[in-house]
């Protein structure tokens, strides 16, 4: 029997997971969020999502083509970056600025580091940080959701000519009988006006004005889907929200009414979106379980600190970027304890059989164990 066989290295079977599958699932879970975003803000939001995503994909293609970075379009990672970036921008953000945001996200956030897996910072947030620095006025201009003509009429600022300043949204809103405050996000309204948006509005975002993206409830649902299918680590969002909630509660309890209640802290602005979709970005978060808790806690705390004590209304973006920067360090100090190296020599609860106490104490006393004379046994 002459058979051509191949030599391969074990293991000879592969698990079902692939990068494409993970990324595609993230895209699926973002789809309802984007849909709701469009439902809230109309064609401006739709155009924004399409343009930003397209520019991310185009940039990715350019960088992959020129050999600047690894990866390919088919891995969906650029699509995710584009969708997330679009969700963090105001719906009436001028489209040409969206293109700038998309390109800078891919160039500064991804290609610079070598592409998928190598990036240190979340590309979507890098893109947002760039346009936040470049166009601070445009990025702080929000429009109310559920405007009457939102499916037929663009928000005028969307359609600004490239390089040109966008039309005055405030004037446009005034013409529609909205007061100037309508274009401020709940966080900005709290920061500058001291107005705390009611809780139910925040959670559902079915009325009023949402600063970043759609209803936190929807985001949490989509995040739960990802976490249950284990396409995302559940520890990070819980750590972020938990630590933000706790630190806000602490400040609220100590300093009282000068600060909003923790509930407002959690559900206003982009904290939920950031915790569920941005902080969990795999390449930029720690891989070690303990590291994830630490990383999440750091982001939550930083968010609250930035929101309360800085001139900025929103702090999630910078908190996550700082968390990203701290990731290698966190990973270093939270390496998992290898099997048999911890203090776990004491029996765990509910073991079926107990060990003769002599053997445990002998081991703990550092008694000399027989010298290793042969190789470790392998499992079958």
């Amino acid at each position: 029997m002459t058979v051509q066989t191949e030599i391969r290295s074990a293991p000879h079977i592969k698990g079902p997971r692939s990068v494409e599958q993970i990324m595609a699932n993230v895209v699926y879970s973002l789809a309802p969020i984007c849909a709701f975003f469009v439902y809230q803000y109309g064609i401006s939001a739709l155009a924004s999502i399409l343009v930003v995503t397209a520019s991310c994909l185009l940039a990715e293609r350019v960088f992959v083509r020129t050999g600047t970075q690894a990866g390919s379009l088919s891995d969906f990672s650029a699509t995710i970056t584009g969708l997330l970036l679009a969700l963090t921008l105001p719906p009436g953000f001028p489209l040409w600025m969206g293109v700038v945001a998309g390109f800078s996200a891919m160039a500064l956030g991804k290609a610079l580091f070598g592409g998928i897996g190598f990036n240190v910072f979340n590309p979507a947030l890098v893109g947002r940080a760039f346009v936040q620095a470049a166009f601070p006025a445009a990025i702080a201009t929000y429009t109310p959701s559920f405007l009457p003509g939102r499916f037929t009429e663009f928000i005028p600022s969307s359609l600004a000519w490239p390089l040109m300043a966008p039309a005055d949204t405030a004037a446009w809103l005034k013409a529609m009988q909205y007061d100037a405050l309508a274009s401020a996000s709940p966080l900005a309204r709290w920061k500058f006006e001291g107005f705390v948006t009611p809780a139910w509005d925040l959670v559902t975002s079915l009325t009023g004005h949402m600063a970043v993206g759609p209803s936190p409830l929807l985001i949490l649902l989509c995040g739960a889907y990802l976490a249950l299918r284990r396409f995302m680590d559940w520890r990070i969002p819980i750590a972020v929200l938990g630590s933000a909630g706790l630190s806000a509660l602490l400040i609220y309890a100590v300093f009282g009414t000068r600060f909003p209640d923790p509930f407002f802290m959690l559900f206003s602005g982009g904290l939920v979106l950031g915790a569920v979709f941005m902080a969990t970005d795999m390449a930029t978060s720690p891989v070690t379980p303990r590291g994830m808790w630490l990383y999440g806690a750091l982001i939550g705390l930083l968010t609250v600190v930035i929101r309360f004590y800085s001139g900025l209304p929103e702090g999630v973006m910078y908190a996550i970027l700082i968390g990203n920067a701290a990731t290698p360090l966190i990973e270093r100090i939270t390496q998992p304890t290898p099997f048999g190296k911890g203090v776990s020599i004491r029996a765990r609860r509910q073991a079926t059989y107990t060990l003769h106490p002599d053997y445990i104490s002998r081991e703990e006393a550092g008694a000399k164990t027989p010298k290793k004379r042969f190789l470790k046994n392998k499992p079958k």
């Binding site: 001028p94 600025m97 500064l108 760039f130 620095a133 470049a134 166009f135 601070p136 445009a138 600004a160 000519w161 390089l163 040109m164 300043a165 966008p166």
Partner: protein
């Protein structure tokens, strides 16, 4: 003979502009490069100020190269450079206060610009005045080009103007980040990327043509 010396002079001149460009190749003098290139005008003034100091001090250093003992040469260079920096400082104040305010402390900081001390020590102290000054001129031209490259981009995107002339009309949306320090880093990074890409391409081409000459 004269041909040879002419090409040599030309080489000395071009060295600073291309092969050893202080900004794009040697990445020297980054402090003023990043800080003052908010506009093309500032970049040009800074570049010219540095050029003046560089050329004058290199000339003087070269003149004195045989009489200055080795032990005190650095002290001498610093004194000479500081002198010309002070002169430039006064001159700018006299010419335009606006430019002086925009450049701020960076005029005085030309003293510690390593391009100048580096050139004085590595080149001017070993060559006759003419050569030294030609080389210094090339270097400072390279520096001016570098600063202008940054300043132009940052001014065009950051203010929509070039040397104060509006390019896009009144409705231009300025890119605030460009006039902030991060913008300086981003633009500098982009230029460095462009330069090294060009250089690499050239080397590859040379290697293909010359067959092993590319070292």
């Amino acid at each position: 003979m004269s041909d040879l010396s002419q090409t040599r002079t030309f080489d000395e001149f071009m060295e600073g502009i291309w092969r050893q460009n202080p900004v794009f190749v040697m990445v020297l003098g980054m402090c003023p490069t990043l800080a003052v290139t908010v506009s093309a005008m500032n970049a040009l003034s800074m570049g010219l100020a540095t050029a003046f100091v560089l050329v004058c001090s290199c000339g003087l250093v070269s003149l004195m190269r045989n009489i200055v003992p080795k032990e005190v040469r650095i002290a001498t260079y610093i004194v000479i450079i500081a002198t010309f920096v002070t002169v430039v400082d006064y001159a700018i104040q006299a010419v335009s206060l606006a430019v002086y305010d925009a450049l701020g402390a960076f005029i005085q900081l030309i003293v510690v610009n390593c391009i100048i001390l580096g050139r004085a020590e590595a080149h001017a102290s070993k060559h006759p005045p003419a050569t030294a000054m030609v080389n210094a001129l090339g270097m400072s031209l390279g520096f001016v080009i570098g600063l202008l490259a940054l300043g132009t981009v940052r001014e065009v995107l950051g203010a929509g103007t070039l040397f104060g002339v509006s390019l896009f009309g009144a409705n231009f949306q300025p890119w605030v980040v460009m006039v902030l320090p991060p913008g300086g880093f981003i633009v500098l990074g982009a230029w460095l990327l462009l330069f090294s890409t060009l250089k690499q391409r050239k080397e590859v081409r040379l290697a293909e043509q010359g067959g092993g000459h590319g070292a």
